[in-house]
Symmetry: C2
Subunit: 305 residues, 2 copies
DNA sequence: CGCGATAATGCCTTATCGGCATGAGCCGAT
DNA sequence: ATCGGCTCATGCCGATAAGGCATTATCGCG
């Protein structure tokens, strides 16, 4: 029995096999490869002898893959596809700056884009990040490689990696907190304007409602103002005009800087989180895989700032 | 400028490039490939001319990849790795039965393993599933391709695909439900034994506690019995000895059969879910990718039965 | 039954691949 | 400085595998 290693990969034969598997015809494959039918025939036969298994079942009218052929073909085809693309990429731009298109939700972009992009560029100066913002929820809109989305865990064939689960707590300006010093959480909320963040497909106020229900607060939550993004709500809260439910990690810098305060210990996991979202096929692209790994590792050490 | 297609993939040159990239030395690469240094040198030079970009920077003492080389190498190496493995797989067993090792949590295995395995085997008769349960006592099998785990959404480099989020509701035997006919949810829970499922890293009773808090029930939840698996708790509940929080999807067949009833409309999403868990690298294996896609598509149409 | 498909095969040509020997830089030790 | 040892590049040549052409075998179809 032969075992294969790098020194002896029957590459030309594999290319012939790939073409035949694609066209399911020796003649057509030969034509596609620009060689004669006999050459292709030889290659495939040689490969079959090497493997000790037939790759195609020759039928009078048609050619069909054997189990062995079926097992081999997807790998071979995928590999050649990737090599082909990689070669053309290099020819085109010398592999100089691979650009990775990234979409971020607005609040995330506003708070974290800079530290992330700077840190990533430091580690991978040759990967150019073309980044754009998108709506707060939902799937990425345009052609993009990787997107961060704010969503609940969802099913789907796309690869979806959790960066962190959102954990919210009431936040407001220091002045407002001081003015209501000593009040209970329930009283504090009842006495102040509530700032909501709109979420696609959810009724407004749902997060405040879930929050108050979770902590058993008897307050009416369907009042106040609603904003498109968390960052806007936070900004409004910082001006002293109300209290918003803030993601502690997302607004860590504001809290540290003192422009926002979180007077209560109660934090609530609302089932939403920030996910890195990309197509399963794209994971085969080393640049995208590298970026994914880098993001996951970085956020595992806590949300950057 | 040349553009590459299948007909002119310089495969032998790429193999040489891969080896040189691995060893960062023409001589060492030549030795590893079992050919002379000159052959390797020619190949790399030829490839560089084809691409119009240098792949290595020749320095007196050392060889370093150029940007173009760095962009190309991971793809080429990964592709050859996969081809090498695929070829050896075929040699070994003719690609006949690719076996995929699958691990399932006990309750999941008990309720869903059969329908899933049967349906999958019908669609892919050539993939043999070697499935094992994450037994309570069973030694954790590290050698596995894909696992279903019951967990909260977590961060990590492994690819984690949500199958469905757990949604629980009180369930008990029909007799017990009849005996307490007409009671409110609060009363019903207060008057019956509570059956818990133990979760690693969580205090016992946490789900009942979250459930009652979510619906504003004033009942004590830290009482009753705790079980290792949801299936055990459900079985106990079916015997009429208490009320358990059941995942509606997981126990759909029991509910349909009437051995368990869920007398209340209140369902609660507890933040846990069933995830398909696999290594990011493994996604390059067509068999594993196929299984992943199949599972995701199937569960998207609802939990099988 | 012959015609038109297909893939397999024998024979021959070719050019790709690779080996050997050598050359050209560069480094460090004597 | 010079020489030996190391690296990769190159000229030349031979082996061989890759491929072309023409033919054969097999099957389906009109």
């Amino acid at each position: 029995m032969v075992t294969f290693d790098r020194r002896w990969l029957p590459l030309n034969a594999l290319r012939a096999f790939d073409a035949v598997g694609r066209h399911l015809s020796f003649t057509a494959a030969a034509h596609a490869l620009g060689v004669s039918q006999s050459a292709v025939s030889r290659h495939v036969i040689g490969l079959e002898e090497l493997l000790g298994h037939a790759l195609f079942e020759r039928r009078p009218q048609s050619l069909v893959l054997t189990k062995a052929g079926g097992a081999l073909l997807p790998t071979v085809r995928g590999s050649f596809d990737r090599i082909e693309h990689a070669l053309n990429d290099v020819v085109r731009d010398g592999g100089g700056l691979r650009t990775l298109r990234l979409q971020l939700p607005p609040s995330f972009a506003q708070k974290l884009a800079l530290p992330i992009l700077q840190a990533f560029r430091k580690d991978f100066p040759d990967i150019f990040i073309d980044f754009s913002s998108l709506g707060i929820t939902g799937a990425p809109r345009t052609e993009t490689d990787v997107a961060v989305i704010y969503d609940r865990p969802r099913t789907g064939e796309a690869v979806s990696d959790l960066l962190w689960m959102s954990r919210v707590t009431p936040g407001c300006s220091p002045a407002l907190a001081a003015a209501h010093q000593g009040k209970t959480l329930e009283r504090f909320i009842a006495d102040n304007e509530l700032l909501h963040v709109k979420l696609e497909g959810e009724p407004p106020g749902i997060i405040w409602q879930a929050f108050s229900r979770h902590f058993g607060l008897g307050v009416r939550t369907s009042r106040g103002l609603a904003f498109d993004t968390a960052a806007l709500a936070a900004q409004y809260a910082a001006s002293g005009e109300g209290v918003a439910l803030l993601d502690r990690d997302l607004f860590a810098t504001d809290i540290a800087a003192g422009t926002l305060v979180t007077p209560f210990a109660e934090t609530f996991e609302d089932g939403y989180g920030y996910f890195l979202h990309l197509s399963a096929d794209d994971l085969a692209d080393p640049v995208i895989a590298v970026f994914r790994g880098w993001m996951i590792r970085n956020f595992a050490r806590g949300v950057p700032s």
